[in-house]
Amino acid sequence: MSSVIDWENTPNPVKENRAGNIGKAVDRYEGPLKVTGTAPYAYEVEPPSPPAYGVLVSAPIAKGRITAVDIAAAQASPGVQLVWTYQNAPAQGPRPERYDFFTPSPRPALESDEVYYFGQQVAVVVADTLENAQAGAALVNLTFEDDAKAVTFHDHFAEAVQPPGESDVEIGDFEAAFAAAPVTVDDVWRTPLQNHCQMEPCATTAWWDGDQLTVHTSVQMVRVAQNSLAETLMMPHKSVRLLTRYVGGGFGGKGSFYEDLVLAALAARELGRPVKIALSRQQMMHGTVHRPATDLHVRLGATPDGKLTAMSLMTVTHCDRRGNFTEHASNFARNLYAAPNRLTGHRLIRLDLPVASAMRAPGEASGTLSLEVAMDELAEKLGMDPVELRILNEPPTDPETGKPFSIRQLVRCMREGAQLFGWDRRNPIPGRVRDGRWLVGLGMAAAIRGNFLLPAKASFTVDADGVITVKQGMTDIGTGTYTVLAQIAAETLGVPLADVRVEIGDSELPPAPGSGGQFGAATAGSAALDAGMNLRAAIAEIAVADPASPLFGGPSEDITFQDGVIAIANRSERLSDLIRRNRPEGLTAEGEVRPAADAGLWSSHTYGAHYVEVGVDTVTGEVRTRRMLGVFAAGRILNYKTARSQLTGGMIWGVGSALTEGNAVDPHYGSLINQDLASYLVPVQADIGELDAIMLDEVDDKANPMGIKGVGELGISGAGAAVANAIYNACGVRVRDYPITPDKLLAALMAKGL
């Protein structure tokens, strides 16, 4: 079992960074393929023979059952080769009672006549062309019986229960302290259901070679998808090869997989030819997972000089009827500010809605939209600067557990951000700054997101040309995995970046958990570092034992790796020469990482601070983001270019959460009102003004052997709250029901006589 102490005390090439590959703003490894359109995503992979095309048919009701099936017209439609509903779909492994992210289990498609949510896939049509499959799908005639359903979150609060196995966390006596506090904030914020809207809809290309199945699909987690698919198809795991080399966005929504994967595999088996299926954009909204809505009740109590005495964030949220997911929007509050009396917890309501699951920074993305605005409200009540209020309540150790922080530079993020952004120019009195038709305001908020490490493996191979190949069943969903693995390999083996190859996204490769929870780089990278170290040791052993090597007989622990050359003092040779003589077929070493046994002794997080300037048109209620800056502390940064992009991307997600994004449930039909990208409004280029992210120098030696942490989710945490606070500073109005659209802001302005 590894230990944090070992990680801290053991030097390694990533920490030493002699060649300077670590941290460098290296261009994306797979970038040339992406900018030329030659990176094949799942639907674009060339199968061994021309594919048939599948199209899914979705349920038009939220709850009930299929009472009649008529597929004759669809079957007779030109080019149609196969039509399946629950009545004639092949047998599949049984669905477990509950799913979870990391445990493989069967996920049968078209399993019964029951409909659990609007948009559930209820049929598939496969035809010789896409056009014929789409036309055939429109002819599938199913009759449904509509049952009474519960779909409106706020009408079912009476049914809210503790999530299974959880309890509230209370420190001290919150209610008493809150009641006694001289200054308080007590408000409820609402966040809507949100959709991931990855640009690439979920898609699969599948084919068979005898009993061997090959699928190219678009998922974030290779091994669990591959195992689950095999179990669904009731096949041995080893008979399924799953590849996902390029993923057109995930954000948590491809942490699971969908009917495209199962039905493409089954249809390809049935038809004896490759089959490809993609979800339509409309099917992505209902047929894949979403971030559930939350109701966030924040209560803060403080002394007149600004010390928090009581802090509570209670979340009510929902998941689907058969679901197993809680949006843990209160969790981050347990680690953020000092307050002796604290109460946090969650309540869950099961509804007849599509499946709720993780979306970028689950928990923090929603929760910070409440607490980080409540802190702004408290600062105003206290007559304090919001930055100073936060700094005053900075905890010396974890405010709930008392554990030491591995490292915490939140204050530095806030201070540096304030200076770089010009926070001192903020007028604390709202509504005082005008620029043409815009009232201008500044806002800020803190960011926090957990740090995680999961078990993973990797292998490194050096060939006779001295080229290092990294292999790992990991994914790159736009996060930069290819690139940072290449950097780690180059640094570890002392070869130029151009001499590194990276192979990921394949179930035949050493398993890694995949992309999610901003654990990807730390997890995959640490396993890669271990594989690299093991390869160094193997190379050293061969070198000192090879009489033909100048290094022969030397102390293997003294060998250095640099510029493709291995050396002991002034004796050296090219790595390729050694391998060519001794291992012309190549030399491979494996490595792995596991969480440290003592990792739980520290409180380990990533932190940041957002500063934003908005304009509010008080005539129309429109809001525009004018400029935004985030300052972040997230351990050692492997690649400043890709890390910055992750952070700025997250910040823009926060802008979307604050201003435009949200899906509403039609109470009569149980469907989401926004079923496409013209109605579900993610930010576009014009919504985003000047925007940048800065990363502080930091090493978190307790996080993992490299001292790095993740940045994929940190950027969104708090970003929307900063926008909401800026809106208040601009116009003196708070809207606590996200997103802050013109209708809501206008109503609030008019209520204030503005």
Partner: protein, 318 residues
């Protein structure tokens, strides 16, 4: 999409003839709305007559001193035309407020006028919609109808017309020219092109079957300032919550009715000396709320005076 046959028209006369003679035929110009709707099984023509290459893309000056814009002129070309920019800036502003660069490059003047509502219940074939499936009911009436009409709605339909361009053309008092299958050409004010929903929201215009819009004619440049303002949830590439075109003393509103809404009561009030705020409140006396769209009344009541003030400032050469 259901199977259909396709032909490319070589001249307008044969296009309208084919449209009249072929069952369930439709004209296809840019296709940006029709193909969208066909993919969703909302439109299912049996035959498409591609009029996109008919020689009707020119923008030329009329003897009266106005401009004739060919129906096949793309939105981008109209917006970029030097004469339009100089003399009808409200039209350029309205066009570039709609869609995206890519859509405007494809969408035509005629097609823009005939685009269909973006009502979510119209777009979702699992929902009742009297416009899409006459007699099935209106899912929006008691649904999430934030973006529905405040003027001229009926119990059968509360959808809005999505065009920005048409709002500017309405304020400009443009004329629509058409060709009928009989070979008859006619011209009529744009305000007479679209219908209110009434009992038959599926019938959206006063065009007869097979009638083809051939041009839109702008009158000589009007006096006074011109302004187009659009309120929306996102800074770009989003439909309007409400919009207004001001052309001198003319006012038209967008995204508030089943058709571009000429605010005649407000215009009359302005002429009678009312303030802009009074004038628009006169217009809004006829407005009605449907559940969630009441904010549009507030938006219009605030936006219109601001736009009028802006136009008047221009008129004064400010």
């Amino acid at each position: 999409m259901r199977p259909f046959t396709y032909e490319r028209a070589t001249d307008a006369a044969s296009a309208v003839k084919a449209a009249a003679e072929t069952p369930n035929a439709k004209f296809l110009a840019g296709g940006t709305n029709l193909l969208d709707l066909m993919k969703l099984e909302i439109e299912h023509p049996a035959h498409l007559i591609d009029v996109g290459r008919l020689p009707m893309a020119a923008i030329e000056e009329t003897p009266e001193g106005g401009l004739r814009i060919g129906a096949m002129a793309t939105n981008s070309h109209v917006a970029a035309d030097a004469r339009v920019r100089a003399h009808y800036p409200v039209l350029t502003q309205a066009i570039v407020a709609g869609g995206s660069g890519q859509l405007r490059n494809k969408a035509t003047t005629g097609g823009n006028l005939l685009q269909r509502t973006r009502c979510a219940y119209f777009y979702d074939t699992t929902k009742p919609c009297n416009k899409r499936a006459p007699g099935s009911g209106c899912g929006a009436l008691e649904g999430l109808n934030r973006n529905s009409a405040i003027f001229g709605a009926s119990h059968a339909c509360i959808a809005t017309h999505p065009s920005d361009m048409a709002v500017a053309l309405t304020a400009l008092g443009a004329t629509v020219e058409t060709l009928s299958p009989s070979g008859r050409a006619r011209a009529f004010p744009i305000i007479e092109l679209h219908r209110l929903p009434g009992e038959t929201p599926d019938v959206e215009t006063h065009l007869i079957a097979g009638e083809l819009i051939t041009a839109v004619v702008l009158p000589p440049p009007p006096d006074g300032g011109q302004v187009y303002r659009k309120v929306r949830d996102r800074a770009s590439y989003a439909g309007g919550l409400a919009s207004v075109a001001v052309v001198g003393a003319n006012l038209a509103l967008g995204a508030v009715a089943h058709k571009p809404w000429r605010a005649v009561d407000a215009e009359a009030a302005l002429k009678a000396g009312a303030s802009p705020a009074e004038a628009i409140s006169r217009e809004l006396e006829a407005a009605s709320e449907n559940g969630r769209n009441g904010f549009k009344i507030d938006v219009v009541s605030r936006l219109v005076p601001a736009a009028i003030a802006e136009a008047r400032a221009q008129g004064r050469g400010a």
